[in-house]
Amino acid sequence: MRILENLLYTNDHEWIRVEGNEAYIGITDYAQHALGDIVFVELPEVDAQFNAGDAFGVIESVKAAADIYIPVSARIIEVNEEISDDPSLVNKDAFENWMIKVELLDKSELDNLMTAKDYEEHCSKEE
């Protein structure tokens, strides 16, 4: 299982990469592995706004489906159409293939998220 150092993480296995006032969000390698072969990803409309913890999309494998939650309050700037067209990309590299690019609405919420080290511990408990 891969965990990248420079990202922040949630309990529900999303990651966020902050770049100034913007950020990229996706699901972790742990999550893609748990789901198995991903067959479908449903992503939100550009400009939609979400509060921290809201479900912004759905990810489906053959035998499972999961909501994807937004780690922090944000507005959608861009969605990654490539993974809508080929969801298997998420299986290939969950960190490279982000799902949404957002504008952060409250940067202080980032403090509630986990570091790579915390997240690693969190995953080992879930095993």
């Binding site: 067959v39 479908f40 449903e42 489906e60 494998s61 053959v62 035998k63 489906a65 909501d67």
Partner: protein, 447 residues
Amino acid sequence: MYPYIPNTQDDERELLSNIGIDSIENLFEDIPESIKLNRRLNLNRPMSEIEVKNHIENLARKNKSTDELICFLGAGAYDHYIPSVIKHITSRAEFYTAYTPYQPEISQGTLQVIFEYQSMICSLTGMDVSNASMYDGATATAEAAFMACDNTRRNSIVVSKTVHPEIRRTLKTYLYFRGIEYVEVEDNDGVTDIEKLKAVVSNKTAGVIVQSPNFFGIIEDVTEIEKCVHENKGMLIMNVDPVSLALLKSPAEQGADIAVGEGQGLGSSLNYGGPYLGFMATTSKLMRKLPGRIVGQTEDVDGKRAFVLTLQAREQHIRRQKATSNICSNQAINALTAAIYLTTMGKKGLREVAVQSTQKAHYALNKLNNTGIYKPLFNKPFFKEFAVKCNSEIEKINQELLKNNIIGGYDLGKDYPDYTNSMLLCVTEKRTKNEIDTLVALMEGIR
């Protein structure tokens, strides 16, 4: 003692001793005494096959079927001809004693049949995707309403009053309990009143439901309705008669987002109201919002073409409360029936059924009109059903007809107070000129 329970008393003893207990009662010790029945169920004693047969045949004899009676009644259940091949195929136990095809390797029969059924429903409706079927036309319509709400994230459904009363009642129940607004639009001369419809459709409307041919048999012009719904970014849900689609423009050609309907007319018996066949089809865009089972094509490890239940992440056994619907079963035997029917009738046969039905229906109305007693209630193009205004009570007319072994039409006054003393008649390809002439002569004689 019981032909369906093979284990003998010796077997029972052997099983008990193998398990290591003394008696069958011991197997039920976990049930608290206070809630045990401890008496015999108050039911019949076991009956032999001969007795069962006699008992049920006695009940059957108290009915008068459409074998004895000539049926001019439609209103959502149709006396179309059912080719003999259907019962021979549907009574194959490999089909009817199988479970849902969750193990595709030994269920290719059911799966391919459903795939073919889906393909034919798509052909008829012009839509991209069909599910494997639903309980009936009414519940399929209600499911379509839910789908429109889910997809638009809106909470109001507009329904034309020309939609079948059974469907509207079912919709009302479904929508009420889910907390969705139900808005009804009056008819104008037997078709949806477009002005009244425009007045209630807004950017809060998730979907508009129209039926065509509608409950009165009339072909609705949905051009304006379609414009109005889509301008407001709602979904157009069309309930259609699949037999009519051999002739009439498909829902897809008319801009429908979801097509639903009652498929009983595709080879299923009248069966006193069920089991019937709800069909449902939609656009590729809405594919993953579709409720119920769907079969898809794939291949096995050897590269052989094969079929499998797919897009299952929408369904209750995976998604639980977030599923697109709670539906689990489909009407697989009725879907099989429809597939056999559409195959047997084929491209030409289905058209012939539709043409004969509509020709004979028009002949019948013409004849009735010529009596001078019965007048068309509406002056609109219709398919195989039409409404006539009568001078006497419908119940009285129907009683007279029944004395002559004819099942008369549906009493419209029951659901439409404005249309009392009006009767909805249906003429399928099964009716002969002679039967129609008899009907007209008898009706002419009723004063």
